[in-house]
Symmetry: C2
Subunit: 343 residues, 2 copies
DNA sequence: ATTTAGCACTCGATCTGCCAGAGTGCTAAC
DNA sequence: GTTAGCACTCTGGCAGATCGAGTGCTAAAT
């Protein structure tokens, strides 16, 4: 599997040319573009060997070569020079997400937007999952005469809120008492254990209060449940339309896949920490066999929390994307850690 | 411009057949489908006259007829029988949006989602605009040692929140004092007048407090600013891909238009109350000349607040959509009014 | 032992002409 | 006013011809 220097350069050139133009690369144009001092015939021989090794393939007999999925893999792992992100790019990314850095969901939604508009691919992000977190605090705020808001913060960096109605006028006193009770009972409790059954027993221990505040208790349970869920933010699916790589059918399959948040979430969750590139079938999702996925997990307060990702044609400018996504997922983690005061 | 009963029936049948099949309707198939006791030749004569009146048109000489934009207009205004929404449909719609009825933005986003999935067109909704509202209350909640959340409610049914950081540990006392100050100064003030300049003078009148809480003041100003904005929720753009009515080019123009929230917002804002159908060029947007727009404004607490809309090909099943959208915008209005305790 | 030039071959893309089918408009009869 | 009949028009699909890009192989050159 050792490649000669010349083969390495040829493979890299094929990938880069193909990514740039979208057309199979012939021996002639390869010679022209990369000023090798060899003839097209030599290049042809090399290419033919790369084909035999499974790194290049031909759409049909009399066409040029395109990289195989294995070819892309070798390119990414050993040939591609990582292009460090520039100061301008950093500033651009920061400036796009900073305005929504006041709320985890808004932030991740903003990240998906900027990713989509920057890469021109489809972008996905998941909000921090509070699955393994414990309740840090519950807050109660009156929002009108008979409505109030429950806000539930977890140690995993989530913050969820919900408005509820009462059928009597709320007073600061009532809320204060109930606030004490709630925090006494719930602080430090793993969100995962706040099930309907748990709330039942909690209600029992509250006596009269539980009757009055049943809508509040329901709201608390719902925010707890919701803290465990990762929201999936999807953006820029339409970008995929403009790649000739995808036909009507591929598009349908991909869009259909993207429209299933649960599966998408699972796909992003089965990655390791850090950044990972999945080319075509490597994702083990038949719907994505013609697409590539670049996933980068982010951490909040030192713990793995969520992911950002883009999905595009296998023919993708990996170099540019990887550095940007690494920076972006770092930024997100930092901002959320700060926002949630977890540092 | 009076149409004979037979012409009316023929026009209606052409619209309905064309909407159903997407193919130009010929005299023969018209005769078959609608069991008129006349021959295709007679129908041909009638159709030819409808063409002369500008209600039908022919893609080319030897094709069947399709409705012109004027034809659709006549159909919608005078021929279509409003199909009342069924109990099941109501239940379905309610069940889809109820789970997100705890927050205005979530709700409108949910509405756009259900609209898109139900109609298979692109759906848009705008969150309530607080432009003309006054501040009902400002709430402050501690969310961690050094962070707190500002929540700002307006009489227009908006509720916006923002987390801010302090560089000292917050205490309930500080927050309580600051809460009193804020509400004294801001309750009843039109959100539109809470400009940076206004906050400047407010800060001046707060003395020491203003220094300590400058990040809070900024957060308040930002929530006020944001209360005035309508957020645009967009969903289901990809649905448009699957209509043969649109070619690559039309799709590009439409998607491009949809990606500009400001214009979209303006388009929805220039409508009257209630529901309106805009066929093709009636929207006065060249990008939408091949599409139709169904907009329905909703009210919160008795005042016009926002809109929901769908965008699809001119060839659209208007009857079904109109009744559903009327119900949905009513529901949204009701839910928000209740959520914000404005009834 | 590599590299190169030359050449026959393959295959997709494009263009052409052709034909069938669907639908019309018109005319003349009912 | 309605209908049957007919000539006419236009699209869409299909078959065949041609073009061009690119390959693989062979034999000569370095």
């Amino acid at each position: 599997m050792e490649l000669s220097e010349r083969k390495r350069r040829i493979l890299a050139a094929v990938v880069e040319l193909y990514v740039a133009t979208g057309e199979p690369v012939g021996s002639k144009s390869l010679c022209d573009t990369l000023g090798f001092n060899v003839s097209s015939a030599t290049v042809r021989n090399e290419m033919s060997e790369l084909s035999r090794m499974g790194l290049l393939e031909q759409p049909h007999t009399s066409a040029g070569r395109i990289p195989s999925q294995k070819g892309y893999r070798v390119y990414i792992d050993t040939l591609m020079k990582p292009r460090p992100i520039s100061r301008e790019e950093k500033q651009y990314l920061d400036s796009m997400i900073l305005p929504s850095a006041y709320d985890p969901e808004k932030l991740l939604d903003g990240v998906a937007k900027v990713l989509a508009s920057m890469t021109k691919y489809a972008a996905v992000s998941t909000t921090p999952s509070g699955e393994s977190g414990v309740i840090r605090a519950v807050q109660l705020v009156q929002t009108s005469r008979r409505t109030a808001m429950v806000i539930l913060m977890t140690s995993a960096g989530t913050m969820k809120s919900r408005v509820f109605h009462c059928d009597f006028d709320l007073t600061p006193e009532i809320l204060r008492v109930f606030f004490r009770l709630l925090n006494d009972k719930l602080a430090g409790v793993p969100v995962a254990s706040v099930t309907p059954a748990y709330m039942q027993t909690l209600a029992a221990s509250l006596g009269d209060m539980a009757m009055m505040m049943s809508s509040a208790l329901i709201a608390v349970a719902e925010t707890a449940q919701e803290s465990m869920r990762s929201d999936v933010c999807l953006n820029g699916e339409v970008n995929l339309l403009f790649y000739p790589d995808f036909g009507q059918n591929e598009i349908r399959r991909i869009v259909d896949f993207l429209s299933r948040p649960a599966e998408l979430c699972r796909l992003l969750a089965e990655r390791n920490r850090g950044l990972q590139v999945l080319i075509g079938r490597e994702s083990r999702r038949p719907e994505l066999e013609d697409s590539s996925l670049v996933v980068s997990r982010y951490e909040v307060g030192g713990h793995d929390a969520g992911a950002i990702a883009i999905i595009g044609p296998t023919r993708m400018n990996y170099g540019k994307i990887i550095s940007n996504m690494e920076y972006l997922s770092d930024s997100v983690g930092r901002m959320l850690t700060e926002l949630m005061d977890l540092d």
